[in-house]
Amino acid sequence: MSETETIIKEEVTIKFAGDSGDGMQLTGKLFTENTALAGNDLATFPDFPSEIRAPTGTVWGVSGFQVHFGSRKINTPGDQYDVLVAMNAAAFKSNLSMVKRIGATIIINTDGFDSRNLRLAEYENADSPFAHIPLEGYELLKIPVTKLTKEALADSTLGRKDQERCKNMFVLGYLLWKYNRRLDNSILFLEEKFKHKPDLLVANRKVLKAGFYFGETNESFTSRYQVDEADLPQGRYRGITGTESLVFGLVTASHKSKLPLYYASYPITPASDILHNLVALEDYGVKTFQAEDEIAAICSAIGAAYGGSLGITGTSGPGLALKTEAMGLAAMLELPLVILNIQRGGPSTGLPTKTEQADLLMALYGRNGECPIPVLAVPNPSEAFYIAYEACKIAVEHMTPVIVLSDGYINNGAVPWKIPNPDELPPIQVKFAVAPENGIDYLPYKRDVNGVRPWAIPGTPGLMHQIGGLEKEDGTGSVSYDPDNHQLMVKARQAKVDTIADFVPDQKIESGPESGDVLVLGWGSTHGVIESAVQQLLSEGHKIAHAHLRHIAPLPNKLGTILNAYKKVIIPEVNNGQLVKIIKDKFLLPVIPFSQIKGMPIFKDELVSFITKHLS
């Protein structure tokens, strides 16, 4: 064993990249699992090709998995890579620009850089992809991974293809060595996975170890890294994606409220995974329905809500556009309904596999007539659970449709998650109407002190009533064309939604002082990058703070006071400045937009330097 220096690092971002068939997702997941058990905080983000199966070796076909881990709090999957693993030339080409300029490590599988691969990756000079880039500052490790894998399996009975397919384990083994990890839990995983395929198990295990020992024995590589345990709150943890977190929030709401969950959806990227997850939970009383389109999905969810279920529908941008008319119906019927919108790049079909925050204004305003609907936004995968739960609570307790905005970045990203105890969640109060005993007429639109009408479900004797999308008379719910009644009802619907602000937490500061030079105000998936940027600037001594909106309609109480406590307010968004409009309209403050609309999360460095300019 050679002498290896061990360098302690606070945080590291690794990107595994290869062809769709190279098994990079699995490599990433196993590395992540190992990382979590090592006690690090972390965040991950997969990066699928937009084609189903693009031709091997092309840039279109590159699949990647990014993991950011550290001994400190990790807020994002990282924007630039400390380590890039490139299994072929196309993976190298499409990821190089994201590698840190200084001190990064690039590990390439030299067997993926033969002339065929270089040509497929459209390298002009098919001989040397490295000719074009200044490699000073990088640690470039060229390893013939495929060859070494095959050598490790010299005596295996596996066919060539199957042998080659083990090469991702070589990479994993090598990286586990490099980050001072133990092999045992990855071996356990392989044993489980290949329980019924002993020859594959043997081969994969062999290659995994070969990668690890390659690190130990190969003299040329001298440094090894160590990332210490993070100081996470005590408790039981698991890994979770944003999608799972959302789904668990809904299912938990269903259980706490004792309302059967009905989820209706039409497949669309990136929302489809919610349906895929919920379909598997029928044992939890979940009923799913794959509708013929988004309109049918939402209408059937309203029908389910009318019948007394927790009606939920989910989609992404173009699908939300189709649901707008029916959202109006839900608002008019004043039935509980949760609408999940997992944003993606727009407009139109746009960039289906890329992330964006550009559906905010549509969520707030995209309906005919005066049609207020509460809008909540998920800040990160962990909190998706709580937002989903709260959305259900608001919907049911305030008899209103509620929109939850998330995005592809949150839903596909994964983090370690402190498993919540459902008993500690606030209860969800459901009050189904019962027939008035004194024989007086039932009034389906008689509001309580919070402006909420009763929920009377079919099947209940004595509560027969007829409702619809036409304007309704206050109290009785009959059709009314009366001018004053209309104004009254428009205001009543608005008031009902506005009142919700009194039932949700007041706006708070995430970090930083209560007043100062700059407040960075965010919503949705910019949470992590803003938090990182603000932490950095705080550590540099700046008077800066971070506030993050979980509720955009109605805006939480105390927001105005907070905004006014800073000299400047900066709003970073992955859109052309949508929250900016809301804040300017509501508070008449000259907030400063920072927008980056590139189908991916905002880069921390760019945000930091933008804020820095405004700090001076």
Binding site: A296, Y306, E325
Partner: protein, 349 residues
């Protein structure tokens, strides 16, 4: 003992108990009145408790229907009643669910949800009021309007092919397909009852006269002088006979339908086609008594009324593993905690 504990038997509900207190606001003379009244009477015969009935409609004159019924009712949005009812059906197996829709609501804007409802065969009864016009929006042609019809949007006569609702329903895989007409009340009532009794989606097209914008669209089938020669009432097991003096019959010449005159002695009743609701091939032919190809006048074959096709096939709910509210309530809190914990978790101390 069990019997002694039962509540006193309530007086049976009568037709008018199903009427709401709302003033009915269709045009005087509109065919919708007759349908409403047959519907109320059918519910009374079926003895369905009022609170167990949910009527979902879209938008249109016909879709005002729920307001006039003292049951649960939703006047939803244009074309989407079928989708709304789908969610209700999937979560509430206990209700009697009716969709009331028009030719515009159900076949123009709502055609797709209708198609998929029929395909899925959910246990929902669809009453499609076909007046071959858009009534509520004051007289534009609809997908079922007849060629040549002059309307606000076809001032010089319509040049569009009409949809054949029964052929459409069969093509969609419907398990119950029937046609009634506002003016033949008892027949209509029986079809409504049969729709209810059918398990799966029942598609009942009802010819309905809009006396304001498309008056007389069906006069051929209702007029004293023309009716008997232009309609045929289908009855299971009975031969296809029609005409003012029962003088016409229909038989199958191989696979081809043929109209024959029984008076000319060449054919007798025994040669005629016997109606069999369960025969999809026959149903497909009957559905074409509408625009029978090769025949240039629409009077060559009489228009059939009654149950064209009925098939007992499992409905969606039976097929899906159905999770009722009860199932859900039996889930303990422990389950949900297990779910949240997942397969692999670790402890941070």
């Amino acid at each position: 003992m069990a019997e002694a504990n039962q509540p006193l038997e309530k007086a049976p509900l009568r037709s008018k108990d199903y009427a709401s207190s709302q003033m009915v606001r269709w045009c005087p003379g509109c065919g919708d009145y007759a349908i409403l009244s047959q519907f109320q009477s059918a519910l009374a015969i079926l003895e369905i408790p009022k609170e167990k009935v949910a009527i979902i409609s879209g938008i249109g004159c016909s879709s005002r229907f729920p307001y006039y019924m003292n049951t649960y009712g939703v006047h939803s949005i244009h074309g989407r009643a079928t989708a709304f009812a789908t969610g209700l059906r999937l979560t509430r197996p206990d209700l009697s669910i009716w969709v009331v829709t028009g030719d515009g609501d159900g076949l123009a804007i709502g055609g797709n949800h209708m198609l998929h409802l029929l395909r899925r065969n959910l246990d929902i009864n669809v009453l499609l009021f076909n007046n071959q016009i858009y009534g509520l929006t004051k007289g534009q042609y609809s997908p079922t309007s007849q060629p040549g019809l002059k309307t606000k949007t076809s001032p010089s006569g319509l040049s569009d092919y009409p949809l054949n609702p029964l052929a459409f329903a069969l093509g969609a895989g419907a398990s119950f397909v029937a046609r009634g007409i506002d003016r033949d009340s008892k027949h209509l009532r029986n079809l409504i009852i049969a729709s209810h009794q059918h398990k799966g989606t029942a598609f009942l097209e009802i010819y309905q006269n809009c006396n304001i914008f498309n008056d007389g669209a069906f006069s051929l089938f209702t007029g004293k002088e023309t009716k008997l020669d232009h309609t045929i009432l289908l009855e299971s097991g009975q031969p296809l006979i029609f005409g003012s003096e029962k003088q016409y019959g229909i038989l199958l010449d191989g696979h081809l339908p043929k109209r024959v005159d029984l008076n000319n002695r060449q054919y007798s009743i025994d040669d005629l086609w016997i109606h069999d609701e369960k025969d999809i091939y026959k149903a497909q032919i009957l559905a074409r008594f509408f625009d029978a190809p090769g025949e240039m006048t629409d009077t060559s074959f009489p228009r059939p009324f009654g149950i064209i096709y009925q098939e007992a096939k499992p409905c969606y709910q039976d097929l899906q593993e159905f999770h009722s509210k009860e199932t859900m309530e039996s889930q303990s809190e422990k389950d949900i905690q297990e779910l949240l914990k997942g397969k692999s978790s670790w402890i941070v101390e």
